[in-house]
């Protein structure tokens, strides 16, 4: 495998890791809110979270291009704070990936939280545990499986991200040239051998990661049931 391909792989892995970590931070409170709230805004928020599932990546990429450009408020603010643009930068890819993979984090978490009966949560409150205390000492351990599923799916989904990156990334080696772009380039230039190598690596990683999720789910089901 060539140097650029290795660096594309590493970059992709790093992007998926950073995205998953950020999504855990953003998605967890959001999912908890969605699972708990009786607000009439809930369906609307749920729909927004699910949008990246149904929209073509080009829609997302298009709007991100408009939002990120240095004369738009967000792009300008980012530029003045960091000195770099959001488009064509790793940070921009992270933002894009977070939006793109958001439903893969939030949906499994929300259903895990909703599957928790109110019993343990109320029991914790009756034992004088504050809501935050309850969340970390009861909800999180009881939703372990949901967290694993959400993290793995977000990670895997980010690995496979293509359309959005293509639109806002600018294909810069070691900054925004992720594996899917590298594969695309190899296919377009008829370098099928290199395309195969990278593709098979992606297939393998995705397979292993998904197998882990399903195996863990099964183990849990067996232990409980």
């Amino acid at each position: 495998m060539s140097g650029p391909d290795v660096s594309a792989l590493l970059l992709t892995g790093w992007l998926a890791l950073v995205t998953t970590a950020l999504l855990l931070l953003i998605g967890t409170p959001l999912a908890w809110w969605l699972a708990q709230t009786r607000s009439r805004w809930r369906p609307a928020i749920e729909a927004i979270v699910a949008l990246p599932l149904v929209l073509p990546p080009t829609v997302l990429g298009f709007y991100l291009l408009l939002l990120f450009n240095p004369s738009a408020p967000l792009g300008a603010a980012w530029l003045s704070v960091t000195g770099d643009t959001l488009t064509f930068s790793f940070a921009g890819l992270v933002v894009a990936s977070c939006i793109y993979s958001l439903p893969f984090m939030v949906q499994p978490l929300t259903s895990a939280f909703m599957a928790l009966s109110r019993g343990p949560v109320e029991a914790a409150a009756s034992l004088r545990a504050s809501p935050i205390d309850t969340f970390f000492s009861v909800v999180v351990p009881l939703s372990k499986r949901g967290f694993l599923t959400a993290a793995v799916l977000s990670f895997a989904h980010t690995l496979g991200e293509f359309g959005v990156v293509l639109m806002v990334g600018g294909n810069l080696p070691e900054r925004t040239r992720v594996v899917s772009i590298a594969i695309y380039e190899h296919v377009e230039t008829l370098a099928y051998g290199q395309a195969h190598t990278l593709s098979l690596i992606l297939v393998l990683i995705s397979f292993v990661v998904l197998t882990i999720v399903y195996a863990t789910n099964r183990m849990q089901a067996v232990r409980v049931g």
Binding site: L65, L66, F68, N69, P70, S71, A72, G75, T85, T87, F88, L166, M167, V168, G170, N171, L172, I181, Y184, E185, V187, E188, T189, L190
Partner: protein, 247 residues
């Protein structure tokens, strides 16, 4: 029952052969879609045949053709892919010809900026968009132009790559890059007030962007007619109006 089958079969065969006789299916590089639409209209008016255009990137169309996509003519954006098809025996020998030569332009979306070339040389810009050289002939030409202008070292950190010349254009259009090397044809396709400022890159700064066509289906005479039609004055007039040079 048997007779019914036979009838159906005959009907299908007749229907298909009738359709193929008058239809020309053209796989066409996206950047050439607009002029091709006009050329096709002129061809249809002159001959009564029907032209079906399918646009895509040259690479994707090539991939489709190698796995049997039913195009009669392939209008590529480069020379390499038609040649590769010939070598594979998937195109009609001797049918490859250059139908147009792409013109590279340096484009700035803003009228308020200095002339694009000055702007580029001043180095007072953040991003310069070009098409990925490995993927797009215009990208390769842009790279060569930068070398010829001895700017290739100063731009490395500012270059951003579009998957195609169309994407390079969108980077500039959305303000994410101030300058971009794109096809003159793309600029000409815009309404006048939105053409911004551009500098037409002299032909000698890069190897010519030859766009080659090749015949894929020898049995379709209408397809061969269409290929020939491309070099008639009716067609070449359209090509030059869209910002292409003639071979």
């Amino acid at each position: 029952m048997k007779r019914c089958f036979l009838l159906c079969y005959l009907f299908c065969v007749l229907a298909c052969s009738a359709a193929v006789a008058d239809n020309v299916r053209v796989g066409i590089a996206s950047n050439f879609l607009r002029p091709a639409t006009e050329v096709a209209a002129a061809f249809e008016a002159a001959t009564g045949h029907t032209v079906l255009l399918s646009a895509g990137s040259t690479g994707k169309l090539y991939g489709q053709i190698t796995v049997g996509a039913p195009y009669d003519v392939f209008l590529a954006a480069d020379e390499a892919r038609p040649r590769a098809l010939l070598e594979k025996g998937l195109a009609v020998a001797g049918s490859q010809r250059t139908y147009a030569i792409g013109v590279l332009a340096l484009w700035s979306n803003s009228r308020n900026q200095a002339a694009p070339l000055k702007h580029l040389q001043s180095a007072r810009y953040r991003r310069l968009a070009i098409a990925t050289p490995a993927l797009a002939p215009y990208g390769l030409a842009a790279e060569q132009t930068l070398q010829a202008l001895a700017l290739d070292y100063t731009v490395t950190d500012r270059l951003v790559f579009g998957e195609s010349v169309a994407q390079a254009m969108s980077f500039v259009a959305t303000g994410n890059a101030e300058l971009g090397f794109i096809a003159l044809a793309q600029i000409k396709a815009l309404p006048k007030e939105r053409r911004g400022r551009y500098w037409v890159v002299p032909a000698e700064l890069h190897t010519p962007i030859k766009q080659d066509a090749v015949l894929l289906n020898a049995s379709n005479t209408a397809a061969a007619e269409f290929l020939d039609f491309l070099s008639t004055p009716a067609a070449t007039e359209i090509l030059t109006s869209f910002g292409y040079r003639l071979p």
